[in-house]
C-alpha cells in the first residue's frame, strides 16, 4: 500500500516536472541524535530555509535523546506513518543500518547526516570528520612549529563522530609532526563542565602544555574556561570542532585558537533539497549512496572574518 502511494508520488512528480503546479505532499522526518545541540539546531534552520515557500512540504522533528534504541524506534515510527523522506543523523552507523534498510525497502528516501550507515541509501550529506581532524592537526602542528605537548579532550567511548575526528587528528599528527607528543586523552562527555574538570587535570600533570584538541566546540569552551582561570590560556592553543557561533566569537577574542568550521546551514539545506527532489521525483535514487561532503574550514583569528554573520550558527 505504501509502495503504491510512492508510485503515486512519482507519477505526480513527473507532472510537476512537466510544469503543472499541482502540488503533492512531501512529508520529511528529521531525526538528529539530539535536538539539544547548536549543530542540529542549525541543520534544522538550514532545512527550513531551503524549504521555505515550497507547497505542501512539512518537516517533523523527533528527539532521539542520544540513544540509539530510541532513534531506531523513532525510525520505525516515521516508517509506519509513511513519511516520504527521512533526514537522519545516525547515533551509530551499525545500529541504524537495519532501520535505514527497512525504510528504503518501503520506498522511503533516507538522507544521513555526518555518519554514513553500512548499507546503501539515498544520500549522505556529511562534514568530513576525519578530514577536518587532519586539517586541525596540520594547522595546530604548523602554529606549534612541529613540536610541543598536545592533549585531547575526547567524546564518550563509542561515539563514532568523536572517534573519527580523534583518529584523523592522531593520524595526521603522527605523520606530519612526529615532534609533537600527545600527553593525554580523556573523556569530556561532550559536555562543558566535564571538560573543565578534565582540562584542570591536564593542567596539573603537564606544566608545559602547548595545545589542546577538543572533539567539539562545547568542550573546547570548557577547556578555555579552565585554562583561563589557571592563568595559562596564553601558552595553550585550544582547538574545537564544528564552529558554532559562540566559539567563533571566542576565536575573534583570541581565547580559542581555532575550530574546524562547517557551514551547518548549508549542510542542512543540501540535505533538505535532496529529500525534496527525491520525493518529488526530480531526482532518482542511485544504486550506491550519494556522498556529499561539506568541506571543513579552519577558522582562526585571522581567517574567521571570512565567515559571514549569516553563515554563523
Amino acid at each position: 500500500m505504501l509502495k503504491a502511494k510512492c508510485m503515486g508520488i512519482l507519477a505526480a512528480a513527473g507532472m510537476l516536472a512537466g510544469g503543472a503546479l499541482q502540488a503533492q505532499a512531501c512529508r520529511i522526518g528529521y531525526l538528529p541524535s539530539t535536538v539539544g545541540q547548536a549543530l542540529t539546531q542549525a541543520w534544522k534552520a538550514g532545512m527550513e530555509g531551503a524549504l521555505k515557500g515550497k507547497p505542501n512540504v512539512s518537516v517533523q522533528t523527533l528527539d532521539a535523546q542520544m540513544k540509539a534504541e530510541i532513534q531506531v524506534s523513532m525510525m520505525d515510527d516515521f516508517i509506519n506513518q509513511g513519511y516520504n523522506a527521512i533526514i537522519l543523523q545516525p547515533i551509530d552507523a551499525a545500529a541504524l543500518t537495519a532501520s535505514v534498510r527497512k525504510a528504503e525497502g518501503k520506498g522511503i528516501k533516507v538522507i544521513t547526516l555526518n555518519t554514513d550507515t553500512l548499507l546503501p541509501h539515498a544520500a549522505c550529506v556529511t562534514m568530513d570528520d576525519s578530514g577536518a581532524g587532519h586539517l586541525i592537526a596540520e594547522t595546530l602542528g604548523r602554529t606549534l612549529n612541529g613540536k610541543g605537548n598536545v592533549a585531547i579532550i575526547q567524546s564518550p567511548p563509542g561515539a563514532q563522530a568523536g572517534i573519527n575526528r580523534e583518529k584523523g587528528f592522531r593520524a595526521a599528527l603522527g605523520k606530519l609532526y612526529p615532534g609533537i607528543r600527545i600527553v593525554g586523552a580523556q573523556n569530556g562527555e561532550w559536555n562543558k563542565d566535564k571538560a573543565i574538570e578534565v582540562m584542570n587535570s591536564f593542567l596539573q600533570v603537564n606544566k608545559d602544555l602547548d595545545g589542546v584538541f577538543a572533539v567539539n566546540d562545547n568542550m573546547a569552551e570548557g577547556a578555555m574556561i579552565a585554562a583561563e582561570s589557571a592563568g595559562r590560556l596564553g601558552q595553550i592553543r585550544i582547538w574545537g570542532f564544528n564552529g558554532q557561533k559562540s566559539t567563533l566569537a571566542l576565536i575573534e577574542q583570541g581565547k580559542i585558537a581555532g575550530t574546524a568550521y562547517t557551514n551547518a546551514y548549508n549542510q542542512g539545506a543540501t540535505a533538505a533539497k535532496y529529500a525534496l527532489d527525491l520525493c518529488t521525483g526530480a531526482k532518482k535514487e542511485a544504486a550506491a549512496t550519494e556522498i556529499v561532503t561539506i568541506p571543513p574550514f579552519a577558522a582562526m583569528k585571522d581567517t574567521v572574518a571570512k565567515i559571514r554573520p549569516e553563515e554563523r550558527w
Binding site: 517533523q60 523527533l62 528527539d63 509506519n80 506513518q81 551499525a94 545500529a95 567511548p157
Partner: protein, 334 residues
C-alpha cells in the same frame, strides 16, 4: 469487587480511552504496522519489567537492569565477533551471565544487609564500565560497534508475518511468571518475603535465598531483553539500555505494584507497559514539538499515578468507615 480489581479496571479503561483518542487524532496510529511496533516497544520494556516486578514485590529495587542489558549485549557481540559459535550455543551463556550478575546483587544485598537501591546503583556503575571494557575495539583501541550478520541470531529481531518474534515471547514470559507467582510455593515465598520477612522466616521460608533468586530472575529478564534488542539493532553498543530502568520502574508502578512490597502481579505490569508504550508511541503521531513531548509524558504519568493513589485512598477510607459503623453496631472488638 476488590479495590485492586477496580484499580486494574480504571487503568485498563484509561489505556483504551487513550488508544481510542489517538486513533481519532492520527490515522497512522491504529494501523497493523504501528500497533506491532508499539507492541514490540512494549515487549522490549515489558520483558525487563516482568523481572523487575518480582523485585518490587519483595520490597526491593534493581537499578542495574539497564546496565545488565548493556553487558549482556556486549557479551553476545563478543561471541559473534571472536568465536564463531552458533547463536544457540552462546545465547544461553549470555542469559546465564545475566543471572550471575543478578546473583551478585542478591548476594551483596543479603550478605551485607545493604539497601538494595544503592547496591544495584553501584553495580550499575560497575557494569556500565564492564560493558565498555569488553566492547569490541579496533586497532587503535577505539570502541567499534560490530554489525551483526549471523542469521540465526538476527531471527530474534525478526517477525512471524506482521508479529515480531519478541511479542509472543513477552506474553509467554508474563503468563509463565504470573503462573509461577500464584501457583507455586516459591512464588508464594516471594510475596511472603516482601510482605513480612520476619513472619516469612518464622514460617521457615529462606528469605535470603528467595531474594537472591528474585534478583537472578531480574538479571535473566534483562539479559533476555538484551538479546532481542541487539538482534533488532543488528549490533550492540556499550550504552545499550542504560537509563531505561526509569521507564521500567514507571511501567511497573503504573501497573499497580507499590514500592512497599508484598503486593502486585504481572498482569498489572503488562497493562502498565502497554500504557507507557502507547503514550510514548502516540505522542509521536501528534506532530508535537519534541520539546513538548517529555512534558506531556511526565505529566500523564503523574496524573495517572495520582488518580490511582487517590482512588485507592478513597476506597479504603470508605471501607474503613463501613467497618467502624459495623463495629459500633455490634459493640464487638476491632
Amino acid at each position: 469487587m476488590s479495590i485492586s480489581a477496580v484499580r486494574r479496571l480504571i487503568l485498563t479503561g484509561l489505556l483504551i480511552a487513550i488508544g481510542a483518542a489517538l486513533s481519532f487524532a492520527s490515522p497512522a496510529f491504529f494501523t497493523v504496522g504501528n500497533l506491532m511496533t508499539l507492541l514490540q516497544e512494549a515487549s522490549q520494556t515489558g520483558i525487563v519489567a516482568v523481572g523487575f516486578t518480582l523485585v518490587l514485590i519483595t520490597a526491593g529495587i534493581d537499578m542495574s537492569i539497564g546496565a545488565i542489558i548493556a553487558v549482556t549485549a556486549m557479551l553476545c557481540v563478543n561471541f559473534l565477533y571472536y568465536t564463531h559459535l552458533p547463536a544457540y550455543l552462546f545465547i544461553p551463556v549470555a542469559l546465564a551471565g545475566g543471572c550471575a550478575i543478578g546473583w551478585f546483587n542478591g548476594f551483596v544485598i543479603t550478605r551485607f544487609k545493604l539497601p538494595e537501591f544503592i547496591v544495584t546503583l553501584a553495580t550499575r556503575g560497575l557494569l556500565t564500565g564492564l560493558a565498555l571494557i569488553i566492547a569490541v575495539k579496533d586497532a587503535d583501541g577505539f570502541v567499534k560497534n560490530v554489525f551483526i550478520e549471523d542469521p540465526l541470531f538476527l531471527r530474534f529481531g525478526g517477525a512471524i508475518g506482521p508479529v515480531y518474534f519478541i511479542i509472543p515471547v513477552f506474553f509467554a514470559l508474563a503468563a509463565a511468571t504470573q503462573f509461577f507467582l500464584k501457583r507455586t510455593r516459591a512464588g508464594t515465598n516471594v510475596y511472603a518475603t516482601g510482605a513480612n520477612p520476619a513472619a516469612a522466616r518464622l514460617s521457615g521460608i529462606n528469605t535470603a535465598r528467595t531474594l537472591v533468586g528474585v534478583y537472578m530472575f531480574s538479571g535473566f529478564c534483562a539479559a533476555l531483553a538484551a538479546v532481542f534488542l541487539s538482534a533488532r539493532m543488528m549490533t550492540a553498543m556499550p550504552e545499550f539500555g542504560i537509563g531505561s530502568e526509569m521507564d521500567v520502574i514507571a511501567a511497573v508502578v503504573i501497573g499497580g505494584t507499590p514500592f512497599t512490597g508484598g503486593v502486585g502481579d504481572i498482569w498489572g505490569t503488562v497493562i502498565g507497559t502497554l500504557f507507557l508504550a502507547t503514550i510514548k508511541n502516540g505522542i509521536l503521531k501528534l506532530g508535537l514539538s519534541p520539546y513538548i513531548q517529555p512534558i506531556a509524558i511526565g505529566g500523564i504519568i503523574v496524573v495517572v499515578v495520582v488518580v490511582d493513589v487517590w482512588y485507592k485512598g478513597f476506597a479504603e477510607a470508605v471501607a474503613a468507615r463501613a467497618a467502624r459503623q459495623k463495629r459500633l453496631l455490634d459493640g464487638e472488638g476491632a
